[in-house]
């Protein structure tokens, strides 16, 4: 047996949407995390819920990189490809490293599957020597699962559903991992149906034993635990992290959380998650559409709650008018855009960063809002929490841009203790302070107005979408007043930069040869590329923006140190436009708009290309 001990490995599970691929990937991720590996994952599923079995477009995938070193991305190429059927192999083989491992379920390569996967004349790739350069392990998972459960009296369909556990057991063996975590998980999941728990565990063990006893298998990976900083960890994906941050901000501000939303991929999970937190005082409201969703959140915010809403491209487009209302009312509101491929319905289950300009400018009139962009799944917690704090303390709607990639991707997270989270102090007035008329639009030094919520005697006031007179908030059509109010509201948002941490370097320094500016989920690929280039002797700097409006106060200062700046983004060049406009510098754009993240290799090439050709 050949045991290899690389620093990292990438495994890709692929099969029909009904094959339990996401669950298998999730279990494997959590097991290796608890073992101590650093990981990064990327689930990739079709837009159809149960696409016809065996088809190329119905393949569901789960990508995971695990390492004994810091892991930044789910990886460019796979070391191991698990293919539950022919279509899964066909659609993913090109990403497998030469000589990589293929684990194939032979019963997914019958005539029907081969035809559906469009293998010419039904030739079976497992038999025609086309895979000779790979390390292929093919066996009949379906049959061995049936054999393991033959005495249980379960019907074929039920047995069929356990076959992912056989593969998981097999892969655990390959990666030297314990079954314990998954056994506990299954026991808990099927608490009310112990016979199903037993069956799944039996199959899991059968897969593990099969790998152990069978002598044909030669590859085994032994990846040591990573040197992660000491502390308490959990696994988190981006949507979970957003949900947790909203609850945390509600607790830290002492305000109820109201979350109004309308289902849309890939944002729905935030709603699902928050709806389970009712004992945290969280009110979730599935509205009739996205307009109602944001409007309900505005109503809740007027009532003194932390009002929040999330959606994706098409839904965010619908919310535009109401965002403008929240902006002119100067009420706190959190709007999360889990971006996906556009325009229109676009690529609902794929990832993209093409809503940046919409976030910055997509409202009528002069209606600026702070716009934030977390870089990784765990970063979604920190940035969302910070965005909530700014919304509440500065009385403004804020927009958070995540995307399908970090929303669904997961990684280990050294979660904070609640006592270490910043306090949030919204400018609420608790009671009437003088006999004078209450002035709802009087401002403090940060230009923030006071928040008087219904229920407080003597502070009755009316707010609305019509332009307001300075201080009083009364309707005003006065030209000078309008211009001043536009400037005041814009300056209020600009002042957020004063409380936001200064921009720092992720890699390199002002002495580096070239600067890469990233935002959002391109973080991992940029970091990996730069670290890898460093090993080849290149000194490259990386700055990753967490706030895009207003831009961090010291960003201009940083940019002026560099002659060469590139901005990779998953759109047609949006941040680059903003930066060129603001700083009048010849910044270069690197784009990818394919619905999938940049690979590390692509970023490396972009940097080398820039260094070579200037």
């Amino acid at each position: 047996m050949k045991a290899t001990s690389p620093n990292e490995a990438v495994i890709f599970f692929a099969g029909d949407s009904g094959d339990g691929i996401q669950l298998t990937g999730g279990q494997f991720s959590e097991t290796v995390e608890i073992f101590g590996n650093d990981i990064s994952t990327f689930p990739n599923f079709p837009a159809e819920i149960r696409a016809p079995k065996g088809t190329l477009f119905g393949v569901s995938g789960f990508q995971l990189k695990l390492g004994s070193v810091k892991v930044f991305t789910p990886g460019d190429q796979y070391d191991v490809l698990v293919a539950m059927n022919a279509a899964a192999l066909k659609t993913n083989l090109h990403q497998l490293k030469k000589g990589g491992v293929i684990i194939a379920n032979t019963s997914g390569f019958d005539k029907k599957n081969l035809t559906l996967a469009k293998y010419e004349n039904g030739t079976n790739p497992l038999e025609d020597h086309s895979l000779d350069n790979y390390d292929v392990h093919d066996f009949d998972v379906t049959k061995m699962t049936q054999d393991a459960l033959v005495d249980t009296g379960m019907d074929r369909k039920e047995i069929e559903r356990c076959k992912n556990m056989f593969v998981l057991g097999f892969v655990y063996w390959m990666f030297n991992q314990d079954l314990k975590y998954t056994i506990n998980f299954l026991t808990d999941k099927f608490k009310s149906k112990p016979e199903l728990a037993d069956a799944n565990i039996k199959v899991l063990k059968a897969g593990h034993n099969f790998a152990d006893t069978s002598e044909t298998f030669t590859s085994r990976f032994s990846i040591k635990p990573a040197q992660l900083p000491k502390g308490h960890y959990r696994n988190v994906n981006g949507n979970q992290a957003v949900a947790l941050a909203l609850v945390a901000a509600s607790k830290k501000s002492g305000l109820g959380l109201f979350y109004g939303s309308y289902p849309i991929t890939p944002a729905s999970n935030i709603l699902h998650q928050l709806s389970r937190y009712k004992n945290y005082g969280v009110k979730t409201y599935q509205a009739e559409d996205e307009i109602a969703a944001i409007c309900s959140a505005i109503g809740a915010s007027f009532a003194g709650n932390l009002g929040a809403t999330a959606s994706s491209g098409p839904g965010i487009a619908l919310k535009g008018e109401a965002m403008g209302l929240a902006m002119i009312l100067e009420l706190p509101l959190v709007i999360v855009n889990v971006q996906r491929g556009g325009p229109s319905t676009g690529l609902p289950t794929k990832t993209e960063q093409a809503d940046l300009l919409q976030a910055l400018y997509g409202r009528n009139g002069e209606a600026p809002l702070p716009v934030f962009a977390p870089a990784t799944p765990k970063d979604c917690f920190k940035i969302t929490f910070m965005a909530c704090k700014i919304a509440l303390e500065h009385m403004t709607p804020v927009m958070i841009l995540t995307d399908g990639y970090i929303a669904n991707g997961s990684e280990p997270w050294q979660y904070p203790e609640s006592k270490d989270l910043a306090e949030i102090k919204p400018p609420l007035i608790k009671e009437r302070q003088s006999d004078d008329h209450f002035l709802p639009y009087q401002r403090d030094k940060n230009l923030v107005r006071k928040w008087a919520i219904p229920g407080i005697a003597g502070l009755e006031h009316r707010i609305g979408g019509l332009e307001k007179e300075i201080d009083t908030g009364n309707v005003s059509y006065d030209p000078d007043n309008h211009e001043q109010m536009i400037k005041i509201r814009a300056e209020k948002v600009e002042k957020v930069a004063e409380v936001f941490p200064d921009q720092t370097y992720e890699q390199g320094s002002e002495k580096s040869k070239l600067l890469v500016i990233g935002w959002g989920s391109t973080y991992g690929a940029i970091e990996s590329a730069i670290i890898s280039l460093k090993e080849d002797g290149h000194d490259i700097a990386h700055v990753h923006l967490r706030m895009i409006h207003p831009l961090p106060s010291n960003l201009g200062e940083i940019l002026r140190h560099f002659e060469q700046i590139i901005v990779p983004e998953m759109n047609n060049g949006q941040l680059v436009m903003v930066l060129r406009n603001k700083f009048l510098l010849p910044i270069k754009s690197v784009t990818k708009i394919k619905g999938v993240p940049f690979t590390v290799q692509e970023i490396k090439e972009a940097i080398l290309n820039q260094l070579r050709h200037g």
Binding site: E30, I34, Y181, L228, P229, K230, G231, H232, Y233, R234, N235, V236, L244, V247, A248, K251, G256, F258, K278, N279, Y280, G281, K283, Y285, A287, E288, I291, A292, C295, S296, I298, G299, A300, S301, F302, A303, G304, N305, G307, A322, L329, Y415, P416, E417, S418, R432, H437, P454, G455, I456, A457, G458, L459, E460, H461, R462, I463, G464, G465, L466
Partner: protein, 343 residues
Amino acid sequence: MDKVADPKSYTAKDFASDQEVRWCPGCGDYSILNQVKKILPEIGVARENIVFISGIGCSSRFPYYTETYGMHSIHGRATAIASGLKAANPKLDVWIITGDGDALSIGGNHLIHLLRRNFNVNILLFNNEIYGLTKGQYSPTSPIGKISASTPQGSLDYPFNPLMLALGAEGTFVARSIDTNPTHLRETLLQAHNHHGASFVEIYQNCNVFNDGCFAPFSDKGIKEDHVVMLEEGKPLVFGADLNKGVTLDGFKPKIIELSNGHTPEECWIHDPTDRIKATILTQFFEYSAEPGALPRPFGLFYQEERYSYEDHMEDQLKQADDKNGAGDLDALLSGPNPWQVA
């Protein structure tokens, strides 16, 4: 200005804001504003707990004129905003002010969903059968063939029957009143306020600039007597100048009988606002016709039903979750069920 702490000692004046009312002179909105200000001292709610939410339109300027909390929001969305407000704080006394364009055209979707959810709020729909603020285009309640700014040859669309719509959307309180009958309007508003659930009140409101007299048959002395029937619980449906006409039901078909011809009021349809089928028939007294023998237009409470409100259910679920899982602990939430330690 703020001497009144005890709700019972308010007067209508306490509810007047310092803003100058800017509707056209003679607009029906004035009357509605006055009646609302008159009933507010009677409802026994402290001024600070009252909130008016409106959309956009002439009528939607309303919140600026009441000394309560208020929001003049965006076109069609007052219902959606009020839903979130009420869910967030069920203790507030929430009033929605909307027009026929605001509620039935751009905001139609939110209106029907609010009604089925049955939030405990009051919806006052100022129906003037026209778009006032945008200067006189036909609206979803304008009769077919309406000549308006945008329909010089007459409008093509068939109008909504707002009360039928409200009933169809599972509204639990459905009523109609009119700006020119202040007493009736006040009574209807009070009833609406006392209902626990979504109260839908359609108020006929004259836009004397763009649609003057569109409700004259129901407001003008000498005509209205033959065209209006007032609904009162347990009372027969009688109308006419000397209450000489009545409505009976022949199966499901309403018929007019002459009470002078030996018929008595006892033979008439006795109004029962808890009868949904009859309420549905009543909403269909809608085909206005000047012909003698045409059905009169009913005013008053058509239908009322007790049904748990959305925010009640929501509070219950929160409490159940609390009872079952205990008040949420943030640290437990952050760690999740499967944390591990790196030593």
